[in-house]
Amino acid sequence: DVKVTQSSRYLVKRTGEKVFLECVQDMDHENMFWYRQDPGLGLRLIYFSYDVKMKEKGDIPEGYSVSREKKERFSLILESASTNQTSMYLCASTPGGLNYEQYFGPGTRLTVT
């Protein structure tokens, strides 16, 4: 079974803090993704990575950055957290090739106060 784990289930941070969200997958998947889920908006893609040290902007990258130093690990960084970044953050991975199915982690509920 593919397992995607996220470092925290719940996180509370203050405005202006630097926030790190970590994601690890154990199936040697090529591609990794970060989404945020908000009511009425579904899942929106923040950043994705096709390979180590590669990153691509998704639909809403403003205010975020990412790091992929190792194949199994993909980090999402909020350089200076703001209240409008309060959301559920979901990490996903896929093997690549013709397999489109994304495997998701359990999510991190981030609250910025």
Partner: protein, 112 residues
């Protein structure tokens, strides 16, 4: 600009009856479609998919129908069970892009 739309935020169905969840898309380049199911406090899990070369795909109680001319797909669940109560997301991809575009989700409630 929402390229994948689920216009019903919620749906309530009696146990044992058919649940039909709908999804519309605008980008004619989409050629692969997926349905995900999400329980509270869990990540989405893959349910069923369909390629644009097909118009129907079935897996047990779940069937997905694709109408390319109408840019519409639907998920049928028969018979509906209480464990099917969840939020359902449809998603679309362009071959080779490996980037899913998700709809807003529909909350399905199965009533006993």
């Amino acid at each position: 600009d929402q390229q994948v739309k689920q216009n019903s935020p919620s749906l309530s169905v009696q146990e044992g009856r058919i649940s039909i969840l709908n999804c519309d898309y605008t980008n004619s380049m989409f050629d692969y479609f997926l349905w995900y199911k999400k329980y509270p406090a869990e990540g989405p899990t893959f349910l069923i998919s369909i390629s644009s070369i097909k118009d129907k795909n079935e897996d047990g109680r779940f069937t997905v129908f694709l109408n390319k001319s109408a840019k519409h797909l639907s998920l049928h669940i028969v018979p509906s069970q209480p464990g099917d109560s969840a939020v359902y997301f449809c998603a679309a991809d362009i071959q080779g892009a490996q980037k899913l575009v998700f709809g807003q989700g529909t909350r399905l409630t199965i009533n006993p």
